[in-house]
């Protein structure tokens, strides 16, 4: 079985995110990291490999993004991927969700995976949607927000929380599965794996190499334009207490509650 894991570079959670006023896009400069949700997807691939229920020949990390996105691939490889594929091209800049999913699906077609895994959301765009876009282009069954995944009956038995409780769904392969953070606890990479990550094969491709129609991606190929960024109506900030003396803190909380007749 060949598994492709879609990964993404996102601004580090510690860095304040902002919109670049000149382009209207997320300012992606500053410290970058591998999307934390994607580490769960890599871990899920590793557990399939180590679980023994199915022979995993290869785990390939795939990303789309500028040159700097290589760091996310290195991190993915240090966590267990065997090699990586970097889709990068200036014409891809400004792609919306639909265009990004289309471009990724073309890169994946080149790899012909039996399973595509990804994190259910990214730390920057918070969208649950890329998996479903990719799946429709690849003509594969798909499920998002999966929190348990076992090999069964030649496919995957997946569990997730949906509108009315927990659903169990049997999915045939090949498939596109996005995982939630409850699925596993990602391992920490060893120092050796971190050092070795740069030596693992990394292939870089541009839109022409994987048959992406340039008119369908980037700002030109995107059917939704985002703009008019503005501040939401903000609720006045609440009172903050730093707990130094807990007895005193508790007294303050109780007084606050009493004032509002909550006790």
């Amino acid at each position: 079985m060949k598994i492709c894991v879609l990964v993404k570079e996102v601004p580090d959670a510690a860095v304040e995110k902002r919109i670049d006023p000149s382009t209207g896009r997320l300012d992606r400069s500053g410290e970058k990291n591998l999307n934390p949700y994607d580490t769960h997807a890599i871990e899920a691939a590793m557990q399939l490999r180590e679980g023994g229920a199915v022979e995993v020949d290869e785990i390939v990390a795939v990303t789309m993004g500028p040159e700097s996105a290589v760091r996310a691939l290195h991190k993915a490889v240090s966590l267990g991927a065997d090699r990586s594929l970097h889709l990068t091209d200036p014409v891809l800049a400004g792609s919306d969700v639909a265009a990004t999913g289309y471009a990724l699906s073309r890169a994946l077609q080149k790899e012909q995976p039996d399973l595509v895994l990804l994190g259910q959301q990214s730390d920057d765009g918070e969208c649950y949607t890329i998996g479903a876009v990719v799946a429709d282009h690849l003509k594969m069954p798909s499920l998002t927000q999966v929190i348990k995944m076992d090999v069964q009956d030649g496919g995957l038995r997946c569990e997730r929380q949906a509108e009315y409780g927990y659903d169990t769904v049997q999915v045939s392969l090949p498939a596109v599965i996005s995982v939630g953070d409850a699925i596993n606890e990602p391992r920490y990479p060893s120092l050796k794996a971190i050092m070795g990550a740069r030596k693992k094969p990394l292939e870089t491709v541009a839109v022409g190499d994987v048959g992406i129609e340039a008119s369908e991606v980037g700002e030109e190929g995107s059917r939704v334009q985002c703009g008019d960024f503005h501040e939401p109506e903000a609720k006045p900030p609440g009172q903050i207490i730093e707990d130094e003396d807990t007895d005193e803190t508790v007294e303050k909380i109780v007084a606050w509650l009493e004032e509002r007749k909550l006790i």
């Binding site: 429709d136 929380q161 939704v224 703009g227």
Partner: protein, 327 residues
């Protein structure tokens, strides 16, 4: 003509509240852009003529009904794509929820359409719909405008209010769909399994909610003791992360795919305040948050925030409230 097509989810013969919100919103916006609101339903025998017609009460004029599997996104993508091909609706609108995200995104791929998710407001502008979406942890609002024949709008949970109007019965139209091969490759084995005890949190006046910050399943004992100290109509709630981890029952879960609550007091213990949680409790009258991370997003929408160790604070707070109640 600019009609809006919505998807209406149902379970055991009842429509989903967020879906009915989407129909209400669709009907209101369609009237502003000179169109109608239509609905798609996919399922089995429980989708009776009477049930489908009842969507007229929320403003749907036509209901496209297809026989197919329930609770999965890809068959619905097939149905909606066919309905749009044959009827030319200009927008597809979804209430909050997991299936809406999956269907909306898949439809965007199929129809090469623009899609916006987590939308909290839709308005008409020059005969077209514009969608407003909070971004960057709700610190900014981004406005989406669509190009092409179809625009897809996926609402945030509870974004659209359910409004009954005096509409008559909706016209029910059966749609015969040949499902894509891959739509048949995911099969529901079990749907709607309830895990853990059945608890009632929606009727509580005071909720003590626990998250990962409680550290371990036993951490909920602190939350339960505090709720008991408040006495009366109080209960304990939980975040999705701890419910998925098996620390607390599903019935106690707040937020996206869980319950929406608005108690008099919501006391969040060890909850960071992710958007998925916020959407389920932000209407609470008073929000108190205890978290050791001063940068936790929950402090941005709490009325009283305490930065500290809940293992120290909760037991003492429980004792203090007991003393007040006793005195």
């Amino acid at each position: 003509m600019a009609d809006i097509l919505t998807y209406v989810l149902h379970y055991e013969g009842e429509f989903n509240k967020n879906s009915l919100g989407a129909v209400s919103e669709g009907a209101a916006r369609a009237s502003e852009i000179g169109g109608e609101c239509h609905a798609v339903v996919v399922g089995g025998d429980d989708l009776t003529d009477e049930l489908c017609q009842s969507l007229g009460a929320y403003g749907a004029t036509k209901v496209f009904r297809a026989e197919g599997p329930e609770g999965l996104a890809q068959p619905v993508i097939d149905v909606m794509a066919k309905v749009i091909d044959e009827n030319g609706q200009s927008y597809a609108l979804f209430g909050g929820g997991l299936l809406g995200f999956e269907i909306g995104a898949g439809l965007a791929a199929r129809k090469r359409a623009g899609v916006t998710m987590e939308v909290i407001n839709v308005r008409a502008e020059d005969g077209k719909l514009v969608a407003e979406r909070p971004i960057l942890q709700d610190s900014k609002i981004s406005v989406s405008r669509y190009q092409g024949d179809l625009g897809i709008i996926i609402g945030r949970i509870n974004a659209f209010e359910t409004v009954s109007r005096d509409g008559g019965a909706a016209e029910v139209i059966d749609v015969d769909v040949e499902y894509s091969e891959w739509s048949n490759q995911a099969k529901m084995v079990q749907r709607g399994e309830q895990r853990g005890a059945d608890v009632d949190i929606e009727g509580a006046d005071i909720l003590v909610a626990g998250g990962r910050g409680l550290g371990k399943p036993e951490g909920f004992e602190l939350a339960e003791a505090l709720a008991a100290a408040f006495g009366g109509n109080s209960a304990v709630a939980a975040t999705r992360a701890v419910v998925d981890a098996g620390w607390y029952p599903y019935a106690a879960q707040i937020g996206q795919t869980g319950k929406t609550v608005a108690p008099k007091l919501y006391l969040a213990a060890g909850i960071s305040g992710a958007i998925q949680h916020k959407v389920g409790m932000q209407s609470s009258e008073n929000i108190v948050a205890i978290n050791k991370d001063a940068n936790a997003p929950i402090f941005e929408f709490s009325d009283l925030g305490i930065v500290g160790d809940l293992n120290k604070i909760l037991p003492k707070l429980t004792e203090a409230i007991k003393a007040k109640k006793g005195g």
